[in-house]
């Protein structure tokens, strides 16, 4: 009798793969909009044409630019004037410390942000000055000279005080770019910082109250509390998160989430940090997976040999 097993196997595999293709790749392709990354080039923003001078930039940041009226710059000895929840009550969200902004964010983005925050952040649908909807960060109108030169100086200054981009850790990138709106419970991160270990419950509760106050401010500023990102690497995928951060409007037109202006390098670090929270066992998975595969292949070979031996007498 002809052995029909190969053709049966082909039929079974064909229908299984067809079903898989239809319910997974094909269905997801239909259900989810595909957005291509622009490699964090921020092509819509004007290029910086002037060569900046860090010293003059420093003077502007500390002086006429009035940055330090709201922003802390720990690296330049300017600590935060208020606790985060107080700052959020005033501005909606805690203005970031600018110490490492030059390393984490794109230079073109920073330049545009200084001049026209709502434009750089892509939240002009929310903040329209003509309708009296002012963005909490006031744009820089110039200190009397060439505004483009002044902005270039300020960006250069921020880059000069920042640590080297190579030294930015995944946690720093995440906390700086995402962490003032998003908590990451599994990494003990709240919008006002890492929750310390308190000896007394009273102190722990006092910290929680500050977090809740902060969250109240951000809720009214953003419309809802931005989600905790602990498991986002599993609930969204890498490609989605990356293109969403690059331009939130591309996926979700009208969203209150601003463009953060991270560099491609910082984005990779943010993703790395999200994996460190939501997919902590990925290295162990690769290691164990390899060993298990070797084991089951050996098992299958022995099973095959056993079958051959047993069946020798049956034919």
């Amino acid at each position: 009798m002809k052995n029909k097993e190969p053709i049966i196997l082909v039929v079974v595999v064909f229908f299984s793969l067809l079903t898989y293709y239809l319910v997974e790749p094909y269905a997801h392709h239909v259900m989810h909009k595909h957005v291509d990354s622009e490699n964090f080039a921020y092509a819509d923003l004007p290029a910086i044409t002037k060569t900046g001078d860090a010293t003059r930039g420093g003077e502007l940041v500390m002086g006429a630019g009035a940055c330090v009226g709201c922003h802390a710059i720990e690296a330049a000895g300017m600590p935060a004037a208020m606790e985060p929840q107080m700052a959020a009550a005033s501005y909606g969200v805690n203005p970031p410390d600018l110490s490492n902004a030059g390393a984490i964010y794109d230079a073109k983005f920073l330049a545009d942000l200084i001049k026209n925050p709502a434009h750089a952040l892509k939240v002009e649908h929310k903040f329209d000055a003509n309708k009296g909807q002012m963005h909490p960060m006031v744009g820089f109108y110039g200190a009397g000279g060439d505004i483009d030169q002044e902005v270039a100086d300020m960006v250069t200054y921020l880059q000069s005080i920042a640590i080297s981009p190579a030294d930015v850790t995944p946690a720093m990138a995440f906390e700086n770019a995402c962490g003032r709106c998003h908590a990451m419970n599994y990494e003990n991160w709240t919008q006002i910082g890492t929750k310390p270990k308190f000896k007394h419950e009273k102190d722990s509760l006092a910290f929680d109250i500050k977090v809740l106050e902060y969250q109240d401010s951000i809720k009214s500023y953003m419309g809802k509390l931005p989600p905790d990102l602990s498991m986002y690497i599993r609930s969204r995928n890498e490609q989605f998160i990356s293109t969403f951060v690059e331009n939130p409007q591309s996926h979700l037109a009208g969203t209150a989430m601003p463009r953060t202006g991270v560099t491609a390098d910082s984005m990779e670090k943010v993703i790395e940090h999200m994996k460190n929270a939501g997919d902590t066992k990925r290295h162990e998975r690769a290691e164990v997976g390899k060993n298990v595969m070797i084991y089951v292949i050996i098992f299958a070979i022995f099973a095959l040999l056993w079958k051959k031996q047993v069946w020798r007498d049956l034919h």
Binding site: I8, M231, K281, V292, V296, L314
Partner: protein, 405 residues
């Protein structure tokens, strides 16, 4: 009382009390299997192995899972995935096995339909198998509630809503099932109990019934040949192993079972480590939120075909046809009026077309069940659902006209 003598060995001691030799013969070495079968006959063993994987991984998960709406998501995604040694492995094995078990069940089912293994005394094998399918479906659905993610919550909402019976508005029944107006603590606690106790007990009992149902009619073979098991087994025991049409279950057929299991495990663990996403929906990694409906709500892939029979119609007709689709497979042995127990392709054109159309159409329904209910998917789904119903209505007619082959 039976007469006991001083045991000569441990085996003898056990034999006198438990008849272990007899049991071994009945269950394994003199449990006769026809030789003209192919690897599809190993799906039973593959299912046993997959069920064992589910049971063992489930036991480990049960040690750390917390069945409260406050803690469930955290206990799964933090405690089990991050804190417990190899917790991630148990979860991925459990999730992937829960999905793959249905693939094997469907292959097993369609094998049964193709070879007519539900006919001529084998009706109870089919019926107990379909009861197992229902029990596994309940087990899968109740398990899906437990991580208390967005898809758990909203699938729970949608499926329990079905019990309102459309225009009947039996909302009291929905509330009674949920123990609340919406899926909440009472709901989670109940489904947890179902998943870890009641349904597994039912499954174990049904597996026993399924095996017992096989005992008298014996396993079918790929030619629908009626074999004289007494004569053929005598031939085998007399030494003509090659000439006999039957073989021992152990080790003869079991060695082939194990060969198939070996290949299957390569496939299974490849999925566990490298391609688990299909079995662990990303949406369920967002914690349950009753105020935020996901953009797309769909069941796991193995429920999609019946979901699509519900969806294209108005609520009352949809529910009626959905109910029809749920139970109709159980009645297959009685709806198939043909005297033939041979592979579908040898039963004449009508049934051959019926079989392959049923298979393809269920794949179409499965695909449309996942896609959003928009044109052209809803039209394709509507046609496929009508074809499904029509096929079952046509079955007794075309099979009673079938010629004896």
């Amino acid at each position: 009382m039976a007469h006991f003598t001083k045991a000569t060995s441990v085996k003898d001691w056990l034999n006198q009390r438990l008849a272990v030799e007899k049991v071994e013969k009945v269950m394994a070495s003199e449990y006769w299997i026809p030789k003209n079968i192919n690897f599809l006959w190993a799906m039973g063993m593959v299912l046993v192995i997959t069920f064992a994987l589910l049971l063992v991984s489930g036991i480990f998960l049960l040690m750390y899972y917390v069945p409260t709406t406050e803690e469930a998501f955290y206990s799964v995604n933090y405690t089990i995935m991050r804190e417990v040694d190899f917790g991630w492995l148990w979860r991925h094995v459990h999730g992937v096995a829960a999905s793959v078990v249905f693939l094997i069940i469907y292959i097993h089912m369609f094998t049964g339909i193709y070879y007519g293994s539900y006919k001529k005394g084998r009706e109870m094998i089919w019926i107990s198998g379909m009861l197992l399918f229902i029990a596994f479906s309940t087990e899968a659905f109740s398990g899906y509630m437990l991580p208390w993610g967005q898809m758990s919550y909203w699938a729970g909402m949608v499926i329990t809503n079905l019990f309102a019976g459309g225009s009947l508005h039996a909302d009291f029944l929905v509330e009674w099932i949920r123990g609340d107006y919406v899926p909440a603590q009472a709901f989670l606690g109940r489904f947890f109990m179902l998943h870890v106790l009641l349904v597994p007990i039912a499954i174990l009992g049904l597996i026993g019934l399924h095996f017992a149902a096989l005992r008298i009619p014996h396993v079918n073979n790929q030619d629908g040949e009626e074999i004289d098991f007494d004569a053929e087994s005598k031939k085998y025991l007399d030494g003509d192993k090659a000439g006999s049409k039957v073989m021992r279950f152990a080790n003869d057929f079991m060695s082939k079972d194990m060969m198939v299991v070996g290949v299957y495990l390569i496939f299974f663990f490849y999925l566990v480590f490298y391609n688990y996403g299909f079995a662990m929906d990303p949406v369920n990694f967002d914690p349950a939120d009753g105020l935020k409906t996901p953009a797309h709500i769909y069941p796991e892939w193995y429920f999609l075909w019946s979901y699509e029979i519900l969806r294209p119609f108005n609520i009352d007709l949809g529910l009626a046809l959905f109910g029809f689709a749920q139970v109709i497979f159980v009645f297959l042995p009685f709806l198939d009026r043909s005297p033939n127990t041979v592979p579908a392709n040898r039963r004449g054109k009508a049934f051959a077309i019926w079989f392959w159309l049923m298979l393809v159409n269920m794949i179409v329904l499965t695909a449309m069940g996942k896609l959003p209910p928009e044109d052209p998917y809803s039209q394709v789904g509507l046609v496929a659902a009508i074809v499904f119903i029509a096929q079952w209505i046509a079955l007794p007619i075309i099979t009673s006209m079938e010629k004896k082959v």
